[in-house]
């Protein structure tokens, strides 16, 4: 197998400066170790997938980087500064979209620029531009209640991008979508990322999604949650799901994750 598979801090993409540094981070909830000591460096403008079964603490790790939760120990640095609460330089896309239902698609996307103090016409101009970028030109006056799941997630992505964050944190963003919509959005996500480079951290439990998207896949294990293996797919884009190398990597990851699921017993 020509898979680059290294445990611990990696060197493959590390010619780029480090954007996010997770240093000895753990999370204990009551007597439960949700996440044991995690060390992880994310290079600037890299696309990292956190892959693992439910209960491996991948969303917990993302929430701590977003500033929604505090680690029980260890620290997280973004641009060398410790994370203290949420901030506009770290955009978040949630699985449940989290759109403001009383604001139109335009109003949702304009929210970030509004908080930054942009005037009405600037807000509108920025929002229109990002809605067009995610393929929603012409839908700007619709309320979230009138949009399909895929369109809602497009709005949510546009909303996060319109704030021009340097980090984009995505928590199983396509988890609630049907298989077709999901694949379309994965392709769009790559297209957007190639135009508009950000440091992306993308949480998923779909192996093929991770291989399709990521520069680097961080496989997480359970009981306690921890980093089990770091894999750099190293396949050229666009990645073909039927490519033998793709399938080989998929099989390898499936095996890894199955062992982790078995640790949980009957599920």
């Amino acid at each position: 197998m020509e898979i680059v598979s290294i445990a611990g801090p990696v060197t493959a993409i590390s010619s780029r400066p480090i954007k996010i540094s997770v240093q000895g981070v753990g999370m204990v909830y009551r007597d439960n170790v949700v996440l044991a000591k995690v060390d992880l460096d994310l290079a600037e403008n890299s696309f990292t997938c956190l892959l693992g079964p439910s209960g491996c603490g991948k969303s917990t790790l993302l929430n701590m980087i977003a500033g929604f939760a505090k680690p029980s120990y260890g620290q997280i640095l973004v641009d060398g500064r410790p994370v203290d609460g949420p901030g506009p330089e770290r955009g978040v896309v949630f699985q449940e979209y989290a759109l403001f239902p009383w604001r139109t698609a335009l109003g949702n996307v304009a929210f970030g620029p509004m908080q930054k103090g942009a005037n009405k016409s600037e807000q509108r101009e920025i929002a229109m531009r990002y809605l067009a970028k995610v393929g929603l030109a012409g839908h700007e006056n619709k309320y979230p209640g009138n949009l399909s799941g895929g369109m809602k997630q497009r709005v949510a992505i546009a909303r996060a991008l319109a704030n021009d964050p340097s980090v984009l944190l995505m928590d199983e963003p396509f988890g609630a979508l049907d298989a077709q919509t999901r694949e379309v959005l994965q392709e769009e996500m790559l297209r957007i990322w190639e135009q508009d480079r950000k440091t992306v951290l993308f949480v998923t439990h779909s192996i093929s999604e991770a291989i399709f998207l990521a520069d680097r896949i961080v496989v997480m294990g359970t009981r306690p949650g921890m980093v089990k293996e770091v894999v750099d797919p190293g396949l050229p884009h666009p990645r073909e799901r039927t490519d033998p190398a793709f399938i080989a990597l998929e099989r390898h990851l499936k095996h890894l994750i199955r062992t982790e699921v078995q640790k949980l017993g009957v599920t």
Binding site: G85, P88, F100, R103, Q115, G145, R159, N163
Partner: protein
């Protein structure tokens, strides 16, 4: 959405059903009251006026100007009392909904007072505030306060925490989150509370005017009782019904306008 547009496009057609229902009610009333006089006397005809007599008494009262004066007196009390209640209850509700210690302090007091019918306090209000306008306004304020307060607290407390996270990761400050997320998210609940509170103020004003007043629709009814004018008593009740209905329709329309985004969710 399509049904709403359909309703708006043919308002006349939509009114046919309700009108028929009202007409049937009036026809039955007419038949029973006329029948009581001619074919089958059951009660003293003085006790069961016909709809035409009630209408006539309304026309008489309007000619003399008494009806307008009474309507105005009642409505001005309702508006003043309701307005005070709305301001106090929304402000306190928002405070208690956002600040837990205050909620813990206030909630038990409210829960003890709430089951007591406001009417139980009416004689006391008259003692405290005299028989002038103050006692009636205070009484309405007291009665309308509870539904508005409780729904506001619930509305603020049940704001989806994910929306707050989304806003904070878009750079919203605490005040911005309150203004742009908590308030709009709680708005449906607050409006429901206002509607209930308004209905209740209307409900209790008549009772207050029975006890101590020299004007108002409650006074009109009570005054007619003294002189045994049954058709005027019924006329007073009918006027209250009509005004209540008009305000119900207006408030519903206002609600639909303010909460346009919600119709999108239902469609």
């Amino acid at each position: 959405m399509s049904t709403q547009e359909g309703r708006a496009r043919r308002p006349l057609a939509a009114m046919v059903g309700p009108s028929v229902s009202v007409l049937i009610f009036l026809a039955v009333w007419l038949a029973v009251s006329v029948g009581n006089r001619t074919v089958l006397p059951v009660v003293n005809p003085v006790l069961l006026p016909t709809p035409i007599e009630v209408l006539q008494s309304g026309i008489d009262a309007a000619r003399s100007g008494d009806l307008q004066r009474d309507i105005l007196a009642s409505m001005s009390r309702v508006f003043q009392g309701f307005l005070l209640a709305a301001i106090a209850a929304v402000a306190m509700g928002v405070a208690a909904g956002t600040w837990r210690p205050l909620e813990r302090l206030v909630e038990p007091m409210i829960e003890i007072l709430r089951p007591i019918p406001p009417l139980a306090f009416l004689p006391m209000m008259v003692l405290w505030f005299g028989i002038g306008e103050m006692s009636k306004i205070a009484f309405i304020t007291y009665a309308a306060f509870f539904p508005i307060f409780t729904t506001t607290v619930e509305g603020i407390k049940h704001v989806d925490p994910l929306l707050i996270r989304a806003a904070s990761s878009l750079g919203a400050s605490r005040t911005a989150i309150f203004r742009y997320v908590m308030l709009p998210a709680a708005m449906p609940a607050i409006i429901t509370g206002l509607r209930l509170g308004f209905a209740l103020s209307f409900f209790v004003i008549v009772a207050a005017e029975f006890l101590a007043a020299d004007s108002g629709l409650g006074y009109l009814i009570n005054d007619a009782r003294t002189y045994f004018m049954v058709s005027q008593m019924l006329m007073g009740a009918a006027v209250i019904g009509i005004i209540g209905f008009i305000f119900h329709v207006l408030l519903r329309a206002l609600e639909a306008r303010l909460l346009r985004w919600r119709s999108a969710v239902r469609a």
